[in-house]
Symmetry: C2
Subunit: 179 residues, 2 copies
Amino acid sequence: NVAHGLAWSFYVGYLQLVLPSLGKSIDSFRASHRNSFWGQGPQKLLILIPLNTNISHKLEEEDNYIQFYDSLPNSQLDRAGIQGRVYKHSVYRVQDENGKAHDCAVEYATPLLTLYRMSQDRRAGFGEPERRQQVLLFYRTLQDILEQSQECRNRYRLILLKDEHQDDAHFLSKTILKH
Amino acid sequence: NVAHGLAWSFYVGYLQLVLPSLGKSIDSFRASHRNSFWGQGPQKLLILIPLNTNISHKLEEEDNYIQFYDSLPNSQLDRAGIQGRVYKHSVYRVQDENGKAHDCAVEYATPLLTLYRMSQDRRAGFGEPERRQQVLLFYRTLQDILEQSQECRNRYRLILLKDEHQDDAHFLSKTILKH
Ligand SMILES: Nc1nc(=O)c2ncn([C@@H]3O[C@@H]4COP(=O)(O)O[C@H]5[C@@H](O)[C@H](n6cnc7c(N)ncnc76)O[C@@H]5COP(=O)(O)O[C@@H]3[C@@H]4O)c2[nH]1
């Protein structure tokens, strides 16, 4: 089951590595970016999971109430022979409907790009009808793994994006701000 | 089938992005590293695939005939909301049995770390006996995908590491030099 493996991969190869030090990373960002506006409460990585696997590489291309602000400080880790492999997150400034700015670390769940590409290539063995099921399986598997992870507690928010309001030009910013 | 999805993920999320520009990257490295010793012929990324999924994060920890030399120039790409995500390879200097140095871009296939971790966690649903089969499936699936990829031709070498000579302290350097 492809989505099951991709959820495990996303956890052991990424979230488990970056979430434990996310708080420190955001504190350091706030100290060097005096004009940034973060919410109250524990700082989390917002992870977007679109059911239709439609992913933009830059969030501002989806909704002009969203602007790229800066990157969090990079982490560097030696991984499987790659020395100093770089892990980074983008901070976006999201405007609400009153024009007020809110900053947050938000990104799409990268493995969904793989699900999308596989559904387009006959050799990969699954098509668009199965893809939606695979996204739901990815979401549930990831939820289960993360809920049992002490070291990742309170450091993430999984946001499942359903298709209904895709015609709203500010659907993404509104959704992000709800979280 | 976990390995099938991980092979696709490795291709669409990495090899397809980095291999087409590898030649240019190595040329630039050679120009700025006048003392480097590359072989003749097209420059490739050597990808180590150990059947037992035993992976070191730094190759010099496996064999002291191998030393980290430097990184190839970084690539930066916007991916799924992460702006300027960094992709890099490590160049290692590998000594042969006559003491002669050979430089090459070599790394382990990182998705094997996921296979290893999944085989250790009961929730993931497979154990050590299946893991070997999954590595072989990963290798064959990756081979098939890459063989049909025009843009990646001649830019990679998959090296399947079997277990027989693990007691030889210079097994890894000898294997790399054969390729
Ligand atoms: N957003 C995000 N930022 C990251 O830095 C990152 N690094 C990994 N991942 C995702 O986590 C999971 C586990 O990663 P792993 O390294 O085992 O496999 C990776 C790895 O084998 C290879 N790869 C990707 N980027 C790099 C890289 N920079 N250096 C080496 N290998 C890489 O290709 C696989 C698929 O990558 P992505 O399809 O981008 O998604 C990965 C994957 O779903 C990331 N996701």
